[in-house]
């Protein structure tokens, strides 16, 4: 039986309980969304005493299934006002799961300005005062934790933006070398922990019992099938595109498809795209040498290794990692084509503890408002500095793109449910627009990555500009994704399993081997549907209605070059998503 840790910030108490029956056999997003739905009053203030933050490793996290080191974090979001699940790949949940913990819930709230650190061991945990970490950037705070608790310590941290309760604040976890660089970034969950006064968690896994599949043979069989699929698929194999160029390999293809949002979503083509692409990052790693690395992994057991370390001209480490989303949001979206400026913007985001997507979309809106010129990297760096200095402007920016746009009277605000849109233009790629618009998470590409068939020709091929059957396509992706987000698998296993049926079988077999269940391929969609429905119901109770399942109005009337399309999937069609 699994264990549940409850951390009460009002009473400063840490209690370990047996996992409730209805939580058994669940993990990741399934568990966070279920627990948030059951335990958090939908109408509560996200930063008040009644919100809770639920952490859950995936069902397979802690095993040696490939790429299975993800953790989901759930709560009511201060950014969207709805339910949120945000996940990250890090060694942290691998340790948490091996220590026997299926979920960790942070509830209550501090009644003063104190900061706390949770020390969790196999037999329980304690909250210790951590005012020495107050307002510390994540890099300095991480160093202090590693010095105090050992270089191998797994940790979670929030940055100053979370402590200041800003809605773009994320949650940082350690990577394989102790950098605070793996983010459950989206939806302002860092602010919820900030409101609770919990600055950090450290794990001591001494004596951890480990994780054992119920049916080891079945687990192994599934594991082998999945490993084979990952290692044989062109995009995920060693030396393949993801491994050699990282996720930013997408910059050029989206640009060539006219779907790379540029200049705050005014165009689908960015002239400087090549300079901020995965190819440019790999070239810099080769030319500059030193710390620059491609093919880096976010947690042990990843066999794709899409992460990177970017070096300065002198070879010293600048930041890890430059992902597609960050390179786009802080690059193309702001017309910044200098990779060193982009790297610095990412480093600052990581240090402040903010979501790089929301930060970049907010900077785009701020540039639209005239707070800086598009393309001016140093001015963008200065604007992020306002967040760090917690000036009144910094507090406006820190609330995200919607709030900033409203504060400055901007009409081109690329958000859904107040969450900034990621790096794919809905007017050029219609299916991903359905995902942004209908996902209970707000605009989130990972919720239903129709880019695979629409742009990458993975898992079939769909015409990106066509509106035909895109609601059905997005629904199928969203359901499967909700399941994958529950397993602990990195979403990038979806590429091989979309094309290689035995890889998909391997996923189901590893889950069945782990739990002793008899799930079939069809159950994957059914479970995903159940998760989505629970999230949707929470949002309905929180007052988020169908009226929020809409694109930003400007996308209905402003034609996007070069295709000159508006977003033309009708409201009626969008409403069919939930039928």
């Amino acid at each position: 039986m699994g264990k549940l840790v409850r951390v009460n910030m009002s009473e400063k108490k840490v209690v370990v309980e047996p996992l409730p029956d209805q939580c058994e056999g669940k993990g990741g997003r399934w568990l966070t969304s279920l627990m948030v739905s059951e335990e958090v009053p939908a109408g509560c203030h996200p930063l008040g005493p009644n919100n809770k933050v639920v952490f859950a490793p995936g069902i397979l996290t802690g095993t040696n299934a490939p790429n299975s080191g993800r953790i989901s974090v759930g709560a009511k979001s201060p950014l969207t006002g709805g339910i949120k699940e945000s996940n990250a790949g890090t060694p942290f949940p691998q340790k948490l799961a091996r220590m026997g913990y299926t979920a960790l819930v942070v509830e209550g709230i501090v009644d003063d300005d104190s900061r706390w650190l949770l020390k969790l061991g196999v037999d329980g945990g304690e909250l210790v005062p951590a005012d020495e970490l107050k307002w510390k950037g994540t890099y300095e705070a991480a160093r202090m934790l590693l010095d105090n608790y050992g270089e191998k310590t797994a940790f979670m941290l929030i940055g100053p933006a979370g402590e200041a309760k800003m809605a773009m604040a994320g949650i940082a976890f350690n990577d394989t070398e102790g950098r605070p660089s793996r983010y459950a970034g989206r939806g302002g969950l860092g602010a919820v922990l900030g409101s609770k006064g919990l600055k950090a968690i450290v794990l001591d896994d001494t004596g951890a019992p480990g994780v054992d599949p119920v049916d080891k043979d079945l687990f192994k069989e599934g594991q082998k099938k999945l490993v084979d699929a990952i290692q044989s698929h062109d995009v995920t194999k060693k030396g393949g595109a993801l491994n050699s160029f990282g996720t930013a390999v997408l910059i050029n293809i989206l640009n060539e498809a006219g779907g790379l949002p540029t200049k705050n979503f005014r165009s689908g083509v960015f002239e400087g795209a090549q300079k901020i692409s995965g190819e440019a990052i790999a070239e810099a790693a080769k030319q500059r040498g030193g710390a620059g690395t491609m093919g880096h992994s976010c947690h042990p057991g990843c066999i794709i290794r899409c992460s990177n370390v970017y070096a300065r001209e002198d070879g010293s480490e600048h930041v890890s990692c430059i992902e597609y989303e960050s390179s786009w949001s802080l690059g193309a979206n702001c017309c910044i084509d200098n990779l060193d400026h982009v790297a610095e913007l990412i480093r600052i985001c990581n240090d402040l503890g903010v979501d790089t997507i929301e930060a970049g979309v907010t900077l785009g809106v701020a540039m639209e408002a005239g707070l800086a010129e598009f393309g001016d990297g140093p001015a963008a760096i200065k604007l992020l500095g306002e967040i760090g200095a917690r000036t009144p402007l910094g507090h406006i920016l820190g609330q995200g793109a919607q709030f900033t746009g409203e504060a400055y009277g901007v009409t081109r605000i690329p958000t859904v449910k107040h969450q900034g849109m990621p790096a794919y233009e809905p007017r050029a790629v219609k299916g991903i627009g359905v995902t942004y618009i209908t996902s209970p998470m707000g605009a989130d590409h990972t919720a239903g990555y129709t880019i695979a068939p629409e742009i990458l020709a993975v898992g079939g091929k769909q015409e990106p500009l066509s509106t035909m059957d895109k609601v059905t396509l997005s629904r199928a992706f969203q359901e499967t994704t909700a399941f994958i987000d529950s397993t602990g698998y990195c979403l990038f296993i979806a590429f091989p399993i979309l094309d290689i049926p035995s890889g998909f079988e391997g996923v189901v077999q590893t889950v069945n081997g782990m739990l002793g269940t008899g799930y079939t391929g069809e159950d994957v969609g059914a479970i995903g549907k159940e998760i989505l429905q629970a999230e949707k119901d929470f949002n309905t109770r929180a007052g988020i209605t169908a009226a929020a399942d809409r694109p930003p109005e400007f996308m209905r009337y402003e034609k996007l070059p070069p295709h000159n399309h508006v977003y033309d999937i009708s409201d009626e069609e969008l409403d069919k998503f939930w039928n």
Partner: protein, 77 residues
């Protein structure tokens, strides 16, 4: 016409310049298939070719002055 070879295809650049655009002379009316043949790229290597901001088929007839962007199988997120 102008050709760009992205990601792992950069190694097929005739002057060894990776993903830098280069000019290639093709007979009038050449198809995408013929372009790939001339570059020595088979179907497995060149997954998609984009011309005029759209992925086009192998029998698409190329016109003078266009740019062909050639991609291997790629993905990300």
């Amino acid at each position: 016409m102008t050709v760009v070879l992205y990601a792992t295809l950069g190694k097929y650049h005739p002057q060894g310049k990776g993903s830098e655009p280069f000019t290639l002379r093709l007979p009038c009316g050449s198809t995408v298939e013929e372009l790939l043949g001339k570059l020595g790229l088979d179907k497995d290597k060149a997954k998609q070719v984009f011309v005029e901001y759209a992925s086009c088929s192998r029998d698409y007839i190329l016109k003078d002055g266009q740019k062909a962007a050639i991609f291997p199988p790629i993905a990300g997120g």
